[in-house]
Symmetry: C2
Subunit: 130 residues, 2 copies
Amino acid sequence: MPAAEKISYDPHAPIDPRVEMLVNELIGRVADKWTLLVLEELEDHGTCRFTELSRLVPGISQKMLTQTLRAMERDGLLVRTVHPVVPPKVEYCLTDLGHSLGEAFCGVWIWAETNLDRIEKARSAFDARG
Amino acid sequence: MPAAEKISYDPHAPIDPRVEMLVNELIGRVADKWTLLVLEELEDHGTCRFTELSRLVPGISQKMLTQTLRAMERDGLLVRTVHPVVPPKVEYCLTDLGHSLGEAFCGVWIWAETNLDRIEKARSAFDARG
DNA sequence: TGCCATAGTTACCAAAAAGAGAGAATTGGA
DNA sequence: TCCAATTCTCTCTTTTTGGTAACTATGGCA
């Protein structure tokens, strides 16, 4: 919807439906709960090992962590470095692309934090109305 | 993670885990595929009726549209106006909160559009590596 | 010899999300 | 009387998602 070269948001700009579809798919991929949490921890702590991340991200299972990390690696958001030692040591580190995604989501984080109260109130009001 | 008052993104700021959880839940709620698509169409076209939206949002089922609109209404992102006429006429219109969410997501849209190619390349490269 | 830690993978199962399609409510008008 | 138009609402089925737990591989250590 927005043109990449423009900073402002023009809701009436003509849209290439193919690009739109790809963008939507990409956002769906990347706005995933676990992806966001892993992204956050890697921003906070820098390079991390697998078990470190599984401790940092509350409630994630091994399976989900593996899946999430693979998907993020595939999308070029992080790099996975295997050190051929025993016991195994694998490190995960955000790429520039990963960092830029974190920054792009910053606006949404701020929005969510800023409007938490308003939304909780809206919900209460809605639920009260029946 | 980011403090609402700060504009810049400080990944090492102390975090209230309760707020963090709520923010995450909220983003999960709001970063939903259908929510984003509906948000977009309402930004583009302004006030819309139910069937209008179901035509505008490609591939959405009646059920999902109803569900999405209800959830957005509950969160205070849009208002639903029922005109007591026959046949029924129901209009949906974004609130200020809804518009501000659209703007917050603008950065992510731009990120996705800007980096589509890089991500597709990263994927190809990853898949080629086996 | 057997056990430990790390970083997975795999198989199986339960729960949740989403699609399809029918039905319901409304009431002026043919 | 019965239809038409609009906005749901309900049920049934399929798909997707996520969790649990067991298994793998490796070399050091007791």
